[in-house]
Point group: D2
Chain length 385, copies 4
């Protein structure tokens, strides 16, 4: 199909490409493109980005790294049984799942791997470049959606895998997005390299549930001058992330992001802890309970409680698609370095932007404007020359 | 004390002056002025209004109308027993309560009242003018904090009491605020009169709990492109308002405000009802449960529930003090007609402002700027000549 | 298959045989019999009834009346899409669904029906007898699982359909169970007829969620001598029952049952209302929120809240299977009249039994003992002669 | 007052006599005796114990050990400010508080204490005996209501203070009740001594909130044959107990009791953790959130959540009064050793009784019967000779 070949397409390279989030991303992109479902949860499909020349969903090509072998169609079947994907969708987009599955390369380091860090970075970058060239992609965005890593061991410790992938993205000249609390581009080694390349990057840790709520409720208390005394939370989740985050070391980065939201929006750090429990029985479903004790006028004690019951992959996937499109377009438009205007999507955003969701939305709106090609000027992606 | 006499002071005339809200307003203003409690819940005490030349809390003088006889100090005692006021405050400000109590005039119409509507308006206006003159007040703001009335009976029906008071405020040349869902200035008779006077007025129905939450959660769903399928709510409350709102006719106006917030922020009206139950055992405490069923990516069904447990009078009182100060300053600064920039405070605001709390806060911030006296120009209230 | 023919089998005649509950009953019985699922939720499969000689699940034969036409296999497909039935089960038991579907007869009265009440009862009874004879069933239990009817119109009003079916059950000599709040055997006309036949019958209104909780929490408060001040509840449900119960007249019987549980276990009727909202977006899922305000020592005010999120059909179906087996065995064992020992299953049980779930469980345990065939005596069902 | 002297009275010796629970016990006993409040929360005041010859509340005399110095009237004042005691009660019973305060002896070991364990036990026993003799008490019950201790250090470690007090109770010939999760009589050293004395004793860890609920909800799931997959819980509490239990070692014993209830009532241990967070802002108020994931028919996943908001001292105090009376009467009636029939009151009861609250209530009812004096036989306490 010559028409399709002549349109510039964009690669989306997923770290953790066989995980629940990645499977939902690939399935969902195909399902929305085919008109099987509306693009619920995708901000890039709202009027905010009309005219921003984002790559079309139908022009995204998926590949990635993973250390597991289970084929994507099988993963999609399991997610259907678990209620994450609606019945029938996985089989309707079987071809697209198989196509993406063929583009998944073995990641690392795995046990017994004799390659050093430099070699791994080179191999990963080669995989990404090869994918980009074979498909004649205009550019490829690298997005980390792998399970959360434990916090790294300090100076002298081996680089965490997420950072190796981040370095590979830089090496391959790709915009990079870290949707997880893992270190990735935040590691000093990667941060220094990023500065040299001036590629655009964003992160970290997608804001999908409890922290999303905190980013609107924190400002509410602050704007109403109500004193929050204690903000306590418990998260119950199964799936891979439940197991990973039940490890206190792995949860530390995530909780730091949650706490930062409160500190930034309230101006103080209230009492209270955050627990993350692994509850395998819940599968991919997440329940977050928050208990907020606040003082009203004359010190009267009041309480707000919230209970959020969501499906983590279904919350994450549309945001990942948004970020892939935005990072690609930002790269095309010449934006460089940390993309602070994407704080709307993250628990612990790069840059020094606001922590209130409303202000983050305003920043995102402005970014949408800034990405609009000038009249008669820069060619929008997918446009004929 | 000649200094105090020479400072211009502001009257606050409360309709429903012996109710829980009014009692908390008078007690709280005195307690904060005396340094017994911080001004929690008062937005006018935040940096937003630094330099906006609002009247000082210590320069407010209270009076009002009510049809009940129970003295304010006794009401304050009961509120202390009910946990609304902290122990010890009522006795610490007994003098201020007694002073306000002396300025409460008998309202109406009461059963057996032979006065016609015109006469009642005249009497009420005389009471307000007399209060203003005796205390040599620069101006008096009239604020309705009385129990919610049933919806009025349509064309030809007698004017509701809240509208008689609104007309009296206009007659006496006073800015007017309707903190309740009652008709007040919304009645066509009052609306026409208000247009002739161009006095500033604001309302209606203070946004103190469930609707406050809806005004931040609605925008969150909209901004994240998540489809809200159903938004259901139940309110349990005792006190006078519980009994009044258990009457479906009285609740209608309140629920209209709640629904408008959803319609305006979500862009659609989701399924779901709102119940208001009278539960005398809860006294002045209010519990609001909200259940929000929304669709995520690919139609995955998710749920958010919120439980708000607050003390209605303690939530309302600081907002009433805010509004008294803002309406007074707006009048002084020459603002006229509906004060649309005060939508932050109301369920069903006058004017055509936004329904999202964040945008309402932005409008309020701009108002704070606009109220700042020009350098060397307009004299701020309380300033020596 | 002569072996199978020689075993006595039991008919289960479902009023509302194409509804969600009936579809789940037929699907589930086949799935459990085939070993596809454990018998979760079926008390008759616990040791309580070991030796009570209940008919085996594999010996139940299904049929029934309905006024709708949608075939059972199609209904099961829809319930699978709605998450009520797990993926794959409906197709695994397609044969059993088709078999039951063939035994569904058109019910009534439907609009345009020219048959009088007596004729309808005769026709219904003929359908049941024909089913029993064609399948050479030892007996058939009639169970009402149809949508809730509005309350009947008082003396002189036409008999409600549920009562016509109850009369048909009596006419056909069948034990009868009313799993709904509809009148059924409670109508004076049916009650009188029931007394003459002394067939065993049970009901009414299956206790599947909020009332189940109330039947254990009410006794807890009573036993601990804690004073319940107010017990408020809101139920959100979609499906057919949501629409039926949003009608206050239909909800009245259901709420009476809920209230009776509190009155009986607490010894007083606390403040508080119960709402039932139709929320189509929830489909067959039901959310029940209860808010219980109680006094502790020295009048300290405390709160318990419960949130129950269940699938109505999945909660009801195992209880319906339990009741079919228990009513059949009770009939065989010669029990007559109202089966008061089945209060464990109902919101508003026949007879004068206890309202506390624990005491109802004790009564059920005793019934299990009583149903055990005497050694060497009465032949158990399914036993060779 | 010769009449009063001639009636046999009962001593209640509280370990932790200046704590919130003890203060509420003393205040509440006096307030109920004076008719200021009904005996809400006291099971011994229900018909269950009519005729069981329990000592009258007015015949209880209070004393105890504590290592703190704050006088009881001052503690009661603080509890009033914190909303635990209703306004006015502390001053109404000031005389009784002062009388109890005079009977509080300094406990130990405190830092710098040079006394060995044997000497401490002797001193404590002397204090108790002296109290009993001076007041001519018929007997004294020793009840531990002190803050929870960390778990003891294993063999060879010093005896925990709670065990020293338990040994002192045995030495002084007193029935003993452990209302806390501390070791007390469970320590092998005390357990051996208890066997020799055959004094009645009971414990441990009063069942006041989350575990009380679990003891009724666990049986409900079991009786309905619903499979509990995961039971997760978070407790937020301030006060002294919040700080003590935030220490994982101290929480271990408490959580073991909570888990035992589930294991015993469900027959399996479901997934899920229990958190206890210290949230000083909550003061003496405790919030417990439980999230129960269970399977219904055909594996359908359902959820029950409970939120319990109670005042810990107000929940504990009436149970402590119950236990004082029951232990005294058991001693008088000649019961010896572990009082297994008091499992109704404890998270981790002595003996091998049932874990379901309903069965525990049945056992308690039987105890009430057993404690009834035979007609014409044993003299009831307080009865004239």
């Amino acid at each position: 199909m010559s028409a399709s070949l002549s349109r510039p397409r964009t690669g989306v390279w997923l770290i953790g490409a066989r995980g629940s989030v990645a499977t939902t991303v690939v399935t969902g992109c195909a399902a929305v493109t085919a008109g099987l479902h509306p693009p619920t949860g995708m901000v890039t499909e709202t009027p905010l980005f009309a005219g921003s020349a984002l790559p079309a969903l139908s022009d995204l090509v998926f590949g990635g790294h993973d250390t597991l072998d289970c084929p994507l169609p099988k993963r999609a079947e399991a997610l259907t049984a678990g209620g994450v994907l609606p019945p029938g969708v996985a089989s309707a987009v079987a071809a697209e799942l198989a196509a993406a599955d063929r583009e998944i390369r073995h990641g690392g380091p795995t046990s017994g791997d004799t390659r050093g860090e430099a070699e791994l970075v080179t191999d990963f970058a080669d995989d990404i470049r090869d994918f980009t060239h074979r498909h004649r992609l205009e550019r490829t965005v690298v997005i980390n959606v792998a399970s959360t890593e434990p916090a790294s061991g300090g100076p002298g410790a081996p680089l965490p895998a997420s950072t190796l992938y981040a370095l590979a993205a830089l090496r391959a000249g790709c915009p990079y997005v870290n949707f997880t609390p893992s270190e990735g581009m935040h590691h000093p080694a990667a941060a220094r390299a990023a500065e040299r390349t001036s590629l655009p990057h964003a992160g970290r840790d997608g804001k999908t549930g409890q922290t999303l709520l905190r980013a609107v409720l924190g400002p509410m208390f602050a704007q109403r001058a109500l004193t929050v005394r204690a903000w306590s939370g418990t998260n119950l989740l199964g799936g891979g992330d439940g197991a990973a985050l039940a490890d206190p070391a792995a949860a530390a980065a995530k909780n730091a992001g949650k706490e930062r939201v409160l500190a930034d929006t309230l101006g103080t750090v209230p009492e209270g802890e955050v627990h993350i429990d692994d509850v395998p029985a819940l599968g991919d479903w997440k329940t977050a309970w928050d208990h907020i004790a606040f003082d009203g006028f004359l010190g009267t004690r009041m309480i707000l409680q919230t209970i959020w019951q969501g499906c983590d992959s279904a919350l994450a996937a549309p945001l990942v698609l948004d970020l892939a499109r935005l990072a690609a377009r930002a790269h095309q438009a010449g934006l460089t370095g940390p993309l602070g205007d994407l704080g709307f999507y993250f628990k612990d955003p790069v840059g020094a932007g606001p922590a209130s969701l409303a202000e983050q939305y305003t920043a995102l709106t402005a970014l949408g404007q800034r990405l609009r090609p000038p009249a008669g000027g820069e060619r929008a992606p997918g446009e004929r020359q």
